[in-house]
Symmetry: C2
Subunit: 152 residues, 2 copies
């Protein structure tokens, strides 16, 4: 990945921190089970979710499990989108990892929430690869939790 | 994905919670840049990391970026492993998502830490798809943070 960093947060001492990636952990509850169990639909929706936020699709791989459930990943030039579905529970765990300022994973989250007919969902944004703004070196610290929202 | 849940934690009221997936966010710092920039090595190591913890590899897709950096995903029967590398910073962001009791993502984390010659790393384990033990329905709550460790 190229070193395109994104403004992250203003620290307590007033300095800024930057990060390499935005990693969204999305939990979709009470979804349409027919959508969650369709390999064709999930693949199309995940690709569309990437395109919707302006990402460039590089590769994709999807797999349907027996008796049910889909796993799949879309590699984008800006990182990746991944999904695992449990149609029997109406639940999908989605990861939207983007780098740079070009894409907003929140757009993809809202797109998928509607596409899955999810009645409840949660959105958590983590910053990964925290950079020191003085020398742009990656700091040896874990990710930071940014935004967290629950949509009902 | 099939509904194979894992014992999660004992809640304050003494009852247990279960979850569908273990999602490890691994941050590898001060790695060998030559390893991080080799498509062949990264692909092999990610597949080996999956096999090492007893996972079944279903599909894989990897991509080398210009001028440097690798992105890739291994879909396993138990979920997925994903990686993004920044060789110029000696940094890799890795996700190890497993379901069921068969695989321990901690094993894969330790394997990759050694394989990348990472001098510092952080391991955070999230529980995704929290279940109500009484009716095994997925609870409409975000993931929970389980273990977090920093290895120097």
């Amino acid at each position: 990945m190229t070193t395109t960093s994104t403004f992250s947060a203003i620290k307590e001492d007033g300095t800024k921190t930057m990060h390499l990636g935005r990693h969204v952990l999305a939990e979709f509850f009470e979804c349409d089970s027919n959508v969650l169990n369709s390999l064709e639909k999930i693949e199309k929706l995940m690709v569309d979710a990437a395109l919707e936020c302006g990402a460039t699709v590089v590769q994709k791989c999807f797999h349907a499990f027996n008796p049910y459930g889909i796993s799949g990943v879309v590699i984008i030039a800006e990182s990746h989108f991944a999904i695992h579905t449990w149609p029997e529970l109406g639940y999908a765990a989605v990861d939207l990892f983007t780098c740079g300022d070009k894409c907003d994973p929140k757009v993809s989250y809202e797109f998928l929430r509607k596409a899955f007919y999810s009645k409840n969902a949660s959105y958590t944004e983590l910053n990964r690869g925290i950079l020191d703004e003085t020398d742009m070196k990656v700091l040896e610290v874990p990710f930071k939790v940014g935004v967290q929202e629950i949509s009902n």
